[in-house]
Point group: C2
Chain length 128, copies 2
Amino acid sequence: MAQLKFSRQRQALIEELAGRRDHPTAEMLYTKLKGTMPHLSLGTVYRNLSTLAQDGEILRIHTGTTDRFDAVTREHDHFCCEQCGRFLDLEKDIGGHLNAQAEALCGVRVAHHSLVFYGTCCQCQTNR
Amino acid sequence: MAQLKFSRQRQALIEELAGRRDHPTAEMLYTKLKGTMPHLSLGTVYRNLSTLAQDGEILRIHTGTTDRFDAVTREHDHFCCEQCGRFLDLEKDIGGHLNAQAEALCGVRVAHHSLVFYGTCCQCQTNR
DNA sequence: GTGGGTGCAAATACTTTGCAACCGA
DNA sequence: TCGGTTGCAAAGTATTTGCACCCAC
């Protein structure tokens, strides 16, 4: 992979993502940044998010529907509400446990930041 | 949701899935069954897999790329090799742990069978 | 000037859906 | 017969990619 060159778009993306805790989708970031950068394109957003995620600068979280992104790369997991889509942080206190098991079973180390727990959040449970 | 009626296609799908341990994709099941049911369509496969998963008869596993399906609904987790796509079962001995944390944090119960751990399997690690 | 980055649009990958014909109860 | 199911094709959603132009170095 070649050397990264500075770009206004990537910089804005990094700063925007770092400033929020709601694990936005590519579309959400695009819509927000489009306000100040009218010519920004969705392809550019995806391109940069993919690059940054590959370089480990940010997290890309697969959810089954739309991927979410997270500037917090400290090891932690996530909870996704299957009803309302709310996406929350979970602290990680079970990493060692998981890795021990995965390693014993198939000789791997589990990638950090890779867990999403699905369920129904308290709000949605109340509304049922 | 209306009452399910018997169908050859759904029956074949259930049996095929029950007979394998490789967590096939919809496409893989379609290709296999197409051999004995030439008129089978991919839409039917997806339709039935979605129904069965909703009814809890089978598991639908989101992987970030193509969804995988599993006839084993006993509570367990999965490991996905990000390099070769190998998809393995992990036994579950941490369910209580996870649920306790999730419940304390956001008042939810985590859905069963929902975890996929990403990493690099031993084969792929050797080849690097 | 050169090579990486961008905008735009088209393409891709996966999955769902509308509809008329079909089939199980 | 009635209503769920199918096959087929078209649509939908999320993401990637080709290409000509642009800009950081």
